[in-house]
């Protein structure tokens, strides 16, 4: 009888310990998952910020180079940005007299941001008339 009681008590303590270790383990796994999600999110935000800056620069570049008679051109970038894997390409979607639409795509490694801008000629310069940012995605 005493042996049986001792066995039951050991079993109770063992299962209680396993339960607590399980709960603590689940909490650690949940925290690790959230930390990993936040780390990925922070990395993507940094990449997206670079891509938005590249789109802004490319829009200005388009106002300067729209009369170069090229349908597609790559925006020249400093070596430090090229080393980060950034590439920006602009393509004339339509041009009709004093109005033009340009599609700009910026890439950084596998991440891609796109915008379509419309420009209107004012005197000897092109001015930005509208800008539509598309989804930034992989």
């Amino acid at each position: 009888m005493n042996d049986r009681c001792a066995t039951l008590r050991r079993g109770f303590v063992l299962w209680t310990a396993i339960m607590f270790v399980g709960i603590a383990g689940a909490a650690i796994v949940a925290l690790a998952g959230l930390s990993s999600f936040e780390a990925r999110r922070t990395g993507l935000h940094a990449t997206d910020a670079q891509l938005r800056q590249a789109l802004i620069a490319a829009a200005y570049d388009a106002t300067v180079h729209l009369d170069d008679e090229k349908l597609v051109w790559a925006m020249p970038l400093p070596p430090s940005l090229r080393e980060l894997g950034i590439a920006v390409e602009s393509r004339i979607a339509s041009i009709d007299g004093d109005d033009a639409a340009v599609h700009i795509e910026a890439r950084m490694n596998r991440r891609r941001a796109e915008q379509t801008i419309t420009l209107h000629r004012a005197g000897d310069r092109w001015r930005l008339a509208s800008a539509a940012l598309n989804e930034i995605a992989d």
């Binding site: 607590f20 998952g33 959230l34 938005r52 200005y60 915008q115 310069r125 509208s130 539509a132």
Partner: protein
């Protein structure tokens, strides 16, 4: 001698030490249990909140990016589009986006405070600030 060594009771000191050790262990275990349960309960909520915040910021980013003018009127951000259309973002206990021809979008994100910084809209919360740039207004300043 053998009988007394194996069959004597516990002294008061031994009992007090054991009770003290059990009390400390119980306290540690109960705190670990409540903390673990709080984490298990809170992590999915934090995850959902982050995803919701990202959805809201993506929509706001697109709206501000193409805005020709940004105004703030009593907690409402008014974004005027180049064609004359207006998109309103209302900030209070939740964030609401209202645009002509589209159903209002609501985001359950409280305590965001909008402010202007040149061609950019800044959203401030207790956790930090996020800046949204208007491509049109920025280019207007450069040209």
């Amino acid at each position: 001698m053998t009988h007394s060594r194996f069959h004597r009771g516990f002294s008061l000191t031994e009992l007090l030490v054991i009770i003290g050790v059990l009390a400390v262990a119980g306290l540690v275990v109960s705190r670990l249990f409540t903390s673990s349960m709080r984490v298990i309960d809170g992590v999915p909520k934090s995850h959902r909140q982050l995803v919701l915040f990202d959805q809201m910021t993506r929509a706001m980013e697109r709206d501000v990016w193409g805005a020709a003018a940004i105004e703030i009127r009593a907690g409402t951000v008014v974004l005027t589009q180049p064609g004359g259309g207006v998109i309103e973002w209302m900030f209070g206990q939740e964030v609401t986006r209202a645009a002509a021809g589209a159903a209002p979008q609501r985001f359950n994100i409280p305590n965001l405070r909008p402010s202007l910084d040149g061609p950019a809209l800044v959203l401030t919360s207790d956790a930090g600030a996020r800046t949204f740039q208007s491509q049109l207004m920025l280019m207007e300043g450069m040209q």
